[in-house]
């Protein structure tokens, strides 16, 4: 699929589509339409998730899912307000996302609901609860 086909495929689930070039596009969706979009991607034959990025932008944490639609890169943004940092897991549809979701949970404190193995991935076991290193308000490791 090239960028046009991908944007055609996701247009009813996502808005704000920005086609960067023939093999890369950005789009924004929300939690309500997210699951339906995943299924649509899956039906269209997308199997590869490259990674998940989380960005703290003030009151909102943006979660970006990078899907590889052979060869187009679909970068799907889901903005999550900080008072409701929850997102359903995608591991049932894309099992390769297991580690990325654990990473997202411990680094930005996004609660991934229904994750099969929600342990820490990189942080040490004695890292305090509720301290997330990639948040804006983070000021150094706790003593």
């Amino acid at each position: 699929m090239d960028s046009k086909e991908v944007s055609e495929l996701i247009k009813e689930y996502a808005g704000d589509v920005r086609i960067v070039n023939n093999r890369c596009l950005f789009a924004t969706s929300d939690k309500q339409r997210f699951r339906a979009l995943l299924r649509a991607l899956r039906v269209a034959g997308v199997t590869h998730i490259s990674t998940i990025t989380g960005i703290d932008v003030g009151n909102v944490v943006e979660v970006i899912y990078h899907f590889d639609c052979w060869p187009t890169m679909l970068n799907l943004k889901i903005p999550l307000p900080k008072d409701d940092l929850k997102i359903p897991t995608i591991t049932d549809v894309f099992p390769g996302a297991v580690l990325y979701e654990r990473d997202l949970m411990e680094m930005l404190g996004v609660k991934v609901e229904g994750h099969p193995d929600p342990r820490r991935l990189f942080l040490p076991d004695d890292w305090p609860e509720g301290v997330y290193p990639l948040r804006k308000e983070f000021r150094g490791a706790p003593k």
Binding site: T47, S50, T51, I55, H66, P95, L123, P124, L134, A141
Partner: protein, 383 residues
Amino acid sequence: MTFVVPVGPQHPMLKEPEFFRFEVKGEEIVGVDIRLGYAHRGIEEALSRRSYKHNVYLCERICGICNVVHSTTYCQTVEQLAGVEPPERAKYIRAILMELERIHSHLLWLGVAAHQIGFNTLFMLAWRDREYVMDLRELISGGRVHSAMNTIGGVRRDVRSEHVPTMLRGLDKLEQSARYYTDLWGSDRTILARCTNVGVLSKDDAIKFCAVGPLARASDVKVDIRKDDPYGAYGALSFNVITEQEGDVWAKGMVRLREILESIKIVRQALKELPSGPVRTPVELKIPPNETVERTEAPRGELIYYIRSNGTDTPERVRVRTPTYGNFASMKSMFAGGTVAEIPIVMWSIDPCFGCNDRITLVDSHTGKARVVSFDELRRWKK
């Protein structure tokens, strides 16, 4: 009766610290658990606190083995953000360096793989021949491992025309030895006994767990970013994507060895068709708010950089997804049903690079913690 074989954080099998916990019944593996994070340096956060120019050097130090591909991907991403195009000659020089890096990474893999199955002679010989590549890299860039060639908008040094014949001679020697090792890998009885039908990753699992690079290609998944999403000079260079059917350790080795031959071909072609002109475009490094993603084919697979700019000379956020991180999810299915004797070679067959993998957190996890884990478990085994 099952007991636990700890592999790591320090173990002769691992070249870098990481902890793997194998539950073993006799010789058979029944469970595996991975504990990451022993080599954290907090690079993602550090990248968002330094200027774009500084970050070139920091990205180069994410991984020692694949430093060129890291800095190239970073530079490409920033160039795309800033809307500049590097000169053609710079793209070719980058391609030459990246392919030399692939050759040296794969030869390094071969040496360590031979060591993992106890074939120390092959280990020493493979690393001896790896010196040819190091010499070529030194010739171009002045550095055997860290080339420090890339800069935003091009490369810092040119390939001099009097170096080209030396390069070609070096490539001939390299090709000879690569062919020899390819033959050896396909014919030596003990290598075949240890590597065939071991650590098999089926095609379905490779797709399901999003395997990348040689790991996926050995399971007959034809992915190669150089072909799928050509970047730099790769659109103009001709080469084949190597795949194997079996998905076992042997196939993973064969893919890498045959890729060495392809890379030699690419370097030869790039040297022949090297366009003339400048090697650097000046760039204004105050980038308006924007975001972009770039991916390249590192020696170990797909490497992704995501950068968001915010109008200043430092990036807002840099996300790095290294190939080893992408390949860890496949690991469990490769170990299922294996034996203790297979742990080292199967582990090494994904060519793990923990330095790459662990770059994310902010503080390095204290080694003291790791020791507590191990000792507790040691005490339990005694009982």
